[in-house]
Symmetry: C2
Subunit: 461 residues, 2 copies
């Protein structure tokens, strides 16, 4: 990173973590075959330093409601690994910081590098990148694009992937693309990065709403669409026909099963939907089933297999790529261990010639992943072929630097940082369980028992 | 299960979870190349019912110190799924109970079926099996062996493994072995189930201690041994020669790298140790790297590849077996989702012809896994060829029904339950952070500051 930046002896001296939950289940936003009623949530991390002149870093991991408190506990368990780290150490050794977090032997036992502990790692690591990007005065994508190749190499943990990608290959890729980098950056500032919309096709929406949302998305300039499938075949086909009728025969329609099927069932279901011409089938089965995805990929071709939002680390992505199990690599900003691990995955995907199409939506994921895809185009894959970022139009209003969409494309963010800062008022209002959105009104519970009507259900066991 | 047992309307009405930690790091017991200083610990679960005549159920998951509080928080997050379940529901539908725990869509997002949430699932599920076994008045292995085939099938979640094993195959296996079951049970009651010892070869032990422990283990009747490797090749070879000299050329010596290597490094290291004739190489690399294990298996043959203590669910085991990646299947009683998921793995391994040699040691793992291996022999694999249970001679004194070893073999447990009950006094003494073993003596801290000597180190950041 840029040595001319203001030096600082600042050290991380505070780590706050908030359990923030949005009651999205009320409208069935985000409903799919595996997740009927998500409340989009986050374990939200804010790190601060002992130097008031330094910015704070904001990071998060995405969750869907119950259990977010477990991720909060995991962040707390890592607090001793974060406090006292200097801003200079972060600026010059983000890879060392990542290994410092993931290498704690006691905590590693609880993964390793998966599940709750890795979600917590993501939230912390993302906050550290936001801090450094702000210190450098650059949006994250630009911070990454400006880093010398050896600094990118330092940020990546090659443990367990050195049979798939090497530091030399990464340096060569960055150097090869360096000459034409400015062209792609200028292009993106005009066109934006292509997106597809999932907002049309949640499982809980009725047919009328689907049709209306298709028309609205077309009017907004979207040309690529995704719908949820997997609960009922006939229902899926009916809804898919409605969407195909509205978007026409040539626009992209992807389908997403959210892990509902076994291998044979996935192949049969997808092939049964051939008439609506699905572009990819997303999460057909368990995210752990690498060889199962490979079998499905062979069974549903030319439909592509896509997965990643639940693929827990670079080792799993390495194998999905090696086994020809995926045609679309769906990185997630917060499932794996933050920016560092996504760099590893982006480089492996580029080497394998598989397009990266990030998972987004939820809360904050759109804000984060846009930086990763822009870096991918500018410095790594140097291609937009088959590449697009998921877009869902929820909850952006809670972010200080929300995504900006135009003609179905993400506009390049310009403010310093990782676009991860949430308004303090939002964190306060939606804090669980004591924010005003969640805490029962004491006036009702304590003073007026009569308001409990006969149709109020007892708390389920 | 036996319909003649006393019926009960009892429901689970309490769930207690204890963070219990033993300061094993002080003696370097359990030290290996990845885990230099484990404090053997557990998130320990006790479920009780609203009927004082019913037994309580004791279960646990194994951890190694810091972060156990995160697993405790995960157990707490599942409390609403456990309270109110009836003993009768557990007796007749343990599979439904398992799916009830793992199927909560919000909590599932935090895995699925891996990491902290799955460790918590294991602790709870193990406590439920202990409760049911006590209700039935049988040790767990016998409860399993007496269950009708359709009840075993009910207990298994076939989601994501129906391409590897079917209910019909499980029924056929159980029925085929039923005729000769009594012979194997009688045999085990005489001979016990074979074990190997890891107590000789922790990485932190010096050469003199290793030599002494080899002699002691031979005197105790052990004929199979395992040592830790992976930190320093020359050191590994020197220690292996000492062990080989003491145990002779024909006894089994396995080596265990605890995930220290990448694929190429693993192959080179193991082949470099050929002169000491390793029987298996355990955890050569990331537990997630199925295809990497397959490559290592090809590269080190005839040395077998073993893994499992960090393999997080049945879907991963399915692939390790399908990819010919392991020659030894090391189930763990608490890493996957308890007894139910281990049943799935045991049947898949038997179908693949791969011996199950459980991971044990830590705290409580020996007590638990013996039941699974005994059931495997009696009802599933019907073979002892290449099969043995790990044994480590630590911390058994904290259990009400500790393992009993004779001539290097586990003696068949006879008391009802899963041998998982820890003494209340042990739970109290080693409770973290407020048990007397961990809480600072208030007499020293509060009343006598002078006792803090100059050489006391500040708390590391």
């Amino acid at each position: 990173m840029d040595e001319s930046s203001a030096a600082s002896n600042a050290r991380v001296s505070s780590l706050d973590v908030v359990d923030v939950r949005f009651p999205t289940s009320a409208q069935l936003d985000g409903s799919d075959a595996m997740n009927p009623d998500p409340d989009y949530s986050a374990a939200y991390v804010i790190i601060g330093t002992d130097d008031p002149a330094q910015p704070r870093g904001f990071g998060m991991t995405f969750t869907i409601g119950r259990g977010t408190e477990v991720v909060v506990a995991a962040v707390e368990s890592m607090r001793p690994l974060v406090l006292g780290v200097s801003v200079e150490e972060l600026r010059t050794g983000m890879g060392a910081f990542w290994r410092h977090l993931t290498g704690d032997s006691h905590l590693r036992w609880l993964g390793p590098e998966k599940g709750v502990m890795h979600l917590a790692t993501a939230a912390i690591v993302n906050s550290a990148w936001d801090l450094v990007a702000k210190v450098e005065g650059k949006p994250l994508w630009q911070l990454l694009a400006d880093m010398p190749p050896d600094a990118i190499v330092e940020a990546i943990d090659f443990r367990y992937i050195d049979d798939a990608i090497t530091p030399a290959e990464i340096v060569a890729t960055l150097e090869r693309n360096g000459a034409t980098r400015a062209d792609r950056e200028a292009e993106l500032r005009v066109t934006g990065y292509p997106a597809y919309t999932t907002s049309i096709g949640w499982l809980g929406y009725d047919d009328t709403k689907i049709a209306r949302l298709c028309d609205e998305a077309l009017a907004d300039g979207f040309t690529r669409f995704k719908m949820k499938v997997g609960a009922d075949f006939d229902d899926d086909l009916r809804r898919a026909r409605i969407i195909r009728d509205h978007i026409g025969p040539d626009r992209m329609l992807a389908i997403d099963a959210n892990q509902r099927w076994g291998v044979a069932e996935a192949i049969d279901w997808v092939n049964g939907m051939a008439e609506v011409n699905p572009y990819w089938i997303e999460e057909p089965t368990s995210p752990d089933d690498i060889l199962g995805h490979a079998a499905i990929a062979r069974g549903v071709a030319p439909v592509l297999v896509a997965t990643g939002e639940h693929v827990h680390n670079r080792v799993m992505f390495k194998q999905l790529l090696a086994a020809d199990a995926i045609g679309v690599c769906q990185i997630d900003a917060t499932r794996v261990g933050g920016v560092n691990e996504n760099l590893a995955i982006i480089f492996m995907a580029a080497k394998a010639g598989i397009p990266v199409c990030p998972h987004a939506g939820g809360v904050g994921l759109c804000e984060l992943v846009q930086h990763l895809s822009i870096f991918d185009y500018i410095s790594v894959s140097a291609s937009l072929d088959g590449r697009m970022i998921e877009y869902v139009d929820h909850l952006h209003e809670h972010f200080v630097d929300p995504v900006s969409m135009r003609d179905g494309a993400y506009q390049v963010p310009t403010l310093p940082g990782y676009s991860s800062e949430m308004y303090a008022a939002s964190l306060e209002r939606f804090a669980f369980p004591n924010g005003p959105e969640w805490a029962p009104d004491p006036g009702i519970d304590a003073e007026s028992e009569d308001i409990v009507a006969d149709d109020v259900q007892p708390v389920p066991r």
